[in-house]
């Protein structure tokens, strides 16, 4: 039993945080809102240079051959930075699926930073970053397909988060490669969904911490009644409540990464718990964050909006709260339930 990250994993996390802090500043994010496309090929190449795009790609295909536990801390950092590029979906959702399907060429292209892959969460759903990505994993019925994004018809759907790019995708199966269908397709869809939800949960965890930091900084500076407003208990307790929710979302997210990495039988339930806990933390961080920022929090100018909007978007991406609650409920109230003290790690052992 060792529920800690290794020193190497922490060091990698720290260096990625430093990189993203320098390269993905709030100013640079805003600058990209006004640029058509709004994505940076240069940044994508730099992320690849760090080994990030190929983290879960096998070494034979030019990747690092690491696993979801190694990546979950980095997904958290992507959330903290509100990174617009589709790193988390590409790495955590697409590459393991492509690896399974033996798509060596595409994997090599992803690992080297030449390509990104966007993933449709469920049949008919909007696809984030479909235009920036060279490849799409799309779904219909119980079938999963891989295709070039150039062969699909994409229509941008503007959304609340200017750093997010959602598309409706129309396509013809004759232009796509079937990855799986029937029972195999359903299983692949299930895996894609779990991986996507895990990635969203990790990003929400990072977003929650970023919003907490911004709010703590603001309230430590802003003076009213001759004192920093952060010295008042009403303000402190708003932030403490966010800290409590965030602290108790971390372990569920990390455990979910472990369960996905080891394909545990209850991985889906663990992912849903993680997504719900991280959503609760991040939405509370947004709600209390805007409150302690006062009118400033309601402006376009203050950076809090960047992270709030991403949190609001991700809280329903890759499964609404209702969907995830239903998944947890099916285990908790199911006939085969095995709950209580000592059961937490039962499926791992």
């Amino acid at each position: 039993m060792d529920f800690t990250f290794s020193e190497d994993q922490i060091l990698f996390r720290d260096s990625v945080r430093e990189f993203l802090t320098n390269e993905v500043s709030a100013e640079s994010l805003r600058a990209r809102w006004d640029v058509p496309g709004g994505r940076s090929k240069e940044l994508w190449a730099a992320l690849a240079e760090l080994g990030l795009t190929g983290m879960l790609v096998s070494e034979a295909n030019g990747g690092l051959g690491m696993n979801e536990i190694d990546f979950v801390l980095l997904a958290e950092e992507c959330g903290r930075a509100a990174l617009p590029e589709p790193l988390v979906d590409t790495v955590l959702v697409a590459t393991p699926t492509l690896q399974e399907a033996g798509m060596d060429e595409i994997l090599t292209a992803v690992a080297s930073g030449r390509s990104a892959v966007a993933v449709q969460p469920t049949p008919g759903a909007l696809v984030a970053d479909a235009e920036f990505s060279d490849y799409l994993i799309v779904q219909e019925g119980s079938a999963v397909y891989l295709m070039k994004s150039a062969d699909a018809k994409l229509e941008l759907q503007e959304s609340v988060d200017p750093g997010r790019q959602l598309y409706t995708v129309t396509w013809d199966a004759s232009n796509a490669t079937l990855l799986a269908d029937g029972d195999d397709g359903t299983a692949m869809q299930f895996t894609l969904f779990n991986r996507g939800a895990l990635g969203a949960a990790a990003q929400l965890l990072g977003l929650s911490q970023r919003m907490m930091e911004l709010s703590v900084n603001y309230t430590s500076e802003r003076q009213q009644f001759g004192k920093p407003i952060g010295s008042f208990q009403a303000v402190k307790h708003h932030m403490a409540n966010v800290a409590v929710k965030t602290e108790f979302a971390k372990a569920p997210v990390y455990r979910a990464a472990y369960s996905v990495a080891h394909s545990l039988s209850d991985a889906a339930q663990h992912v849903s718990h993680a997504k719900l806990a991280a959503t609760e933390a991040a939405t509370q961080a947004a709600k209390n964050g805007i409150q302690v920022h006062g009118a400033m929090g309601y402006t376009w100018e203050v950076d809090l909006q960047i992270f709030m909007k991403r949190a609001w978007a991700l809280s329903s991406a890759w499964g609404s709260r209702g969907e995830h609650k239903a998944r947890v409920a099916s285990t908790v109230f199911g006939a085969e339930r095995s709950l209580g003290a000592g059961q937490t790690f039962a499926s791992a052992s």
């Binding site: 060792d2 307790h237 372990a251 609650k325």
Partner: protein, 388 residues
Amino acid sequence: MDLKYTSQQQAFRIEVRNWMQANVPSEPLKSFDTEEGFQQHREWEKTMNEGRWGMVTWPEEFGGRNLDLIQWLIFEEEYYRANAPTRVNQNGIFLLAPTLMEYGTDEQKARILPKMATGQEVWAQGWSEPNAGSDMAAMRSKAELVGDHFVINGQKTWSTRAVYADWLFGMFRTDPESERHRGLTFILVPLNAEGITVRPIPQLDGLPGFAEIFFDNVKVHVSNRLGGDGEGWKVAMATAGFERGLMLRSPARFQETARRLVELYVENQASADQDPAIREAVLQSYMHAEAYALTTYQTACRLNQGGKIGPESSTNKIFWSELDQDMHATAMSILGARAELLPHAPAAEGVGRWLDGFLFAQSGPIYAGTNEIQRNIIAERMLGMPRL
């Protein structure tokens, strides 16, 4: 990261489970806030100690097994699964003992720990005073060093278990000129000493679970000072750290409550589902108990590797105390009109001990540092927000 128990840890779990099966009393003990129940619980501590299960993390010389925190968590899981009695000496074993290990002299450890382990000496805590509750540094009870004895005068209150306990640990002002956190000393006081008056205070359930204690020229030998003169605050903070940190409330307790809540809901689903909020609350309870367990395992693993408990541990106390309140409130909603019945009422069949738990849960956000104080600690020490 490796979330599998080792074969040694699994074998340990079975060993605990077997012992509990053979030894946990089949009939629940009476409340330890009655004289008879207190003695029953003292006996149980003795039985535990004879099996060397009293405190598995302690060194072997004091009756422990020198085990790590993961094994302690496994022990706790099996303890609560077996529905074993609540630990009457929890102030001693979970709070004072870790402080003694850190600050006690060899003489003190040898004198105090073995009797604590057998339940021969049960401990109460003496922090609060009538005018020093959340503002603990306002305490005024004095201890004057005269020769090789302290002479103690003053008053403590809300002292849990003090009615039947044998000893008390607390802080007293040894420097009469001092203010606030300075000049306080951590002293261990035998409750049978001359000049002590213990006045029981009935709690919400009508039983005297805590007491007021009056000190009138109470003589206590200087060998009962824990840590240095005037270092009481520092020593006490270590105790408070354990209290809100890890030991006082292990996750197993809440996971078992969550499990019982799920069963209660399933048994009464037709009526419970008339209020859709109940199903939602039961589900949240399960997830929160699970999150508390996961987070505690994470902390325990970190501490096993030499890490320290930090200010983030204040989040624990808020989390479990509010969870406990929510779970019991949900149970009361499910039970409906039967919820108000005391467990011994003839018509209370199936109601179980939910009401007892519900009443006790109301104290959670108050004791061991109110949740408002914990939120201040989180804001100031964990997040670095400015002090008022």
